[in-house]
């Protein structure tokens, strides 16, 4: 997993709530057995029509946001299916940070495991970001170490994150390798269960 700390980029304002993982990555693209290559299918049916032409008016098709690494959306982002293909698609497309008022639990965890930083900000602050970001492309500076999001006018918003996950993301650690250090405890637990 790639470590993540500071990300400065134009934000992509995706003004929708309850974005489900079926929309993020549609089932016809779930048959691949790799972790990569999903970016071109991100939000496929919102980006393209039945003939494969780009749909006007969808924010990812707006060239002003090309190269953006920060996606901003409304509440309950990533609800529905547990498919990790959703964060894989988001990452592969080029996003490293998502900002929303709330996330579905499984999606939130899946982001953490893939070096994507899911930031929770209060609804009013997300509202403000969306309004500004839609009016004209706005560059945000995110710092995980400081737990801040800085707007172009210098406004700083702070966000919370579990310290365990913060450290994992900052270092890009392999969680499985870390857990192996507890091998003794796991074996002892298993022995105790066996006896019970």
């Amino acid at each position: 997993m790639k470590p993540i700390n500071e990300v400065t980029s134009i934000m992509t304002p995706l003004d929708r709530s309850n974005v489900d993982t079926d929309q993020i990555i549609s089932k016809e693209f779930l048959k691949r057995i790799e972790r990569t290559g999903f970016g071109k299918y991100l939000f496929y049916h919102w980006r393209f029509d039945a003939e494969g032409n780009k749909r006007d008016g969808f924010v990812l098709n707006d060239p002003r946001f090309d190269g953006s690494e920060i996606l901003v959306a409304r509440e309950n982002f990533g609800c529905g299916s547990s498919r990790e293909h959703a964060p894989w698609a988001i990452l592969d497309y080029g996003f490293r940070v998502v900002i929303a008022p709330s996330y579905a639990d499984i999606f939130y965890n899946n982001c953490m495991k893939n070096g994507i930083l899911p930031i929770r900000l209060p609804e009013e602050e997300v509202e403000e970001l969306l309004a500004k970001g839609k009016a004209e492309p706005a560059r945000l500076a995110v710092s995980l170490a400081e737990q801040t999001v800085t707007q172009p006018d210098g406004t700083v918003r702070r966000f919370g994150i579990d310290p365990y996950w913060k450290e994992m993301l900052l270092n890009g650690w392999d969680e499985i390798a870390l857990t192996f250090k507890y091998e003794d405890q796991i074996s002892k637990y298993e022995e105790a269960m066996q006896r019970a």
Binding site: R16, S17, N18, D20, D22, Q23, S26, K27, E28, L30, K31, R32, I33, E34, R35, H45, A50, R74, E75, N76, C79, G80, S81, S82, R83, E84, P87, S102, Y103, A104, D105, I106, N109, N110, K113, N114, D162, P163, Y164, E175, I176, T179, F180, Y182, Q185, I186, Y189, E190, M193
Partner: protein
């Protein structure tokens, strides 16, 4: 101190609990399927790791499998995914019920059926509807593929203790009202994110009266209410359902296990971080009209009007939903015509569901122009249904009778609803494109879907079809 079942199970499974960190939880059962596992096995191979406890894993193929001719998977990528699961199970020693195995079926149908699902277990699967197993008083939740890899290699997961939530259903549901109506009503009333960050326990008289199959339908859709897990304290029904099943302890050992299971039920007076309740009298046969499972109402109602929404954002998402669904404001539900009916999925494809639907269908014919299919949840369900002659009831009425799998619930195989067409479905998700690009999905109970098949439009099953009477 009085404890909830959630805390009792959690406390039993802590391997490492250090302050300031999530707990390292031991996992008792890991279910796998073909779509969310390949990258996890690949991760093991790349790092030279093995499966720590293959004996605590169980795999099957359900999402991709054809339901007409088992031998023909036209899509080469789907074929590869299925073969990959076979090869991975072989290489890592994981037990597998493959397409030809008599135990094959939707992973959440076969777990309970085989008795792999038991009270007090921690159960995970790379699938959000793992919450289904909570019906047995197990702590069961969906995980992502990285977590699948973590469980395969360590049999544990790092988890922060979630908050607890009680959803109590008082009273008794009326005849003609199904378990599906209970959970759809709860989601519509409290919202699709009511359970975020929580594990739900369903309590109350109405829940106690449900059969195990009905409890599974309720727990199945906990995730549609935003909760990763939803469970029900075990009782005698739970024990009797499990007795004699393939993977439960037998004889005396079973009675000993049962005693322990029953002791897990939430203590009198245990408290929850959040509690909500509804009365069963509020619940009528229910359908969804929109593009998330919270957009629904009782069958006697209408599609809402834009003016019903005070908040501008809600109004916008309402308008976008009805545009996608091809509906008009204020349209009565019973005027809406359908072209497809799908009776299946991990929510409603168990034997009891097929019986409910068959009672409506018996001696009647599917309306001309409607394509209706029944996809049993497992090969065992299919076999039992055929022994009772349910397959004949369905085929004589004009339904197609299929092999088991996820099928049209997510349309990864050939069972797809064409763009712009409307489907009455017993599954759990009505997201845009779920049953096919541009497809319009309405969620409901098996009896309601069967009634829609007969009339070619949504129907209050209590009116024309005096089932349960």
């Amino acid at each position: 101190m009085a404890k909830t079942i959630i805390d009792k199970i959690w406390d039993r499974h802590i391997v490492v609990g250090e302050p300031g960190k999530p707990d390292l939880l031991y996992i008792d059962l890991h279910l796998l399927h073909e779509v969310t596992s390949p990258q996890a096995f690949e991760g093991l191979r790349l790092n030279g790791r093995k499966v720590r406890r293959p004996d605590l894993c169980f795999a099957t193929m359900d999402h991709n499998v054809p339901t007409v001719n088992r031998k023909v998977i036209k899509d080469p990528i789907a074929r590869k995914q299925i073969r990959t699961l076979e090869e991975n199970c072989e290489e890592f020693g994981v037990p597998l019920a493959d397409v030809d195995h008599p135990d094959q079926g939707i992973v959440h149908v076969i777990g309970p059926e085989l008795g792999l699902t038991q009270p007090g277990k921690t159960i995970v699967c790379g699938d959000s509807h793992t919450s289904t197993h909570g019906a047995f008083g197990a702590l069961a939740f969906g995980i992502g593929t990285s977590e699948v890899e973590h469980v395969l290699s360590t049999q544990t997961l790092w988890q922060s203790r979630p908050k607890t939530m009680e959803i109590r259903i008082d009273g008794e549901i009326a005849p003609g009202v199904a378990a599906k109506d209970i959970i759809l009503t709860i989601i519509a009333k409290f919202g699709t994110d009511m359970g975020t960050g929580h594990i739900v326990e369903y309590t109350g008289e109405a829940i106690r009266k449900l059969t195990m199959e009905e409890r599974m339908t309720v727990c199945n859709m906990s995730i549609e209410a935003g909760a990763r897990a939803g469970l029900i304290s075990p009782d005698e029904k739970t024990v009797e359902y499990l007795r004699g099943r393939k993977y439960v302890p037998q004889g005396e050992a079973f009675d000993k296990a049962a005693e322990d299971w029953l002791s897990l039920a939430s203590d009198q007076g245990a408290s929850y971080d959040k509690s909500v309740s509804i009365h069963a009298d509020e619940i009528e046969p229910f359908i969804t009209w929109g593009t998330n499972p919270g957009m629904g109402a009782g069958i006697s109602g209408n599609v809402p009007n834009a003016s019903d929404f005070e908040n501008e954002l809600e109004r916008e998402s309402f308008l976008r939903a009805i545009e996608y669904m091809g509906l008009e404001e204020g349209q009565p539900f019973t005027d809406i015509e359908i072209q497809h009916v799908f009776i299946g999925s991990c929510t409603n494809a168990r034997l009891s569901d097929l019986r409910e639907a068959a009672r409506v269908v018996e001696g009647r014919k599917v309306r001309g122009g409607v394509r209706a299919i029944v996809v049993p949840g497992s090969r065992t369900v299919k076999k039992q249904a055929e022994e009772e002659g349910l397959d004949k009831v369905f085929t004589e009425a004009g339904f197609e009778w299929r092999e088991s799998g996820c099928s049209m619930c997510l349309a990864m195989n050939d069972d797809v609803v064409p763009a712009g067409e409307r489907c009455a479905s017993t599954s759990n998700r009505n997201f845009e494109g779920r049953q096919g690009t541009g497809a319009r999905t309405h969620l409901m109970s098996p009896a309601m879907a069967a009634a829609a098949a007969i009339n070619g439009r949504f129907t209050d099953v209590r009116e024309e079809f005096a089932v349960h009477a």
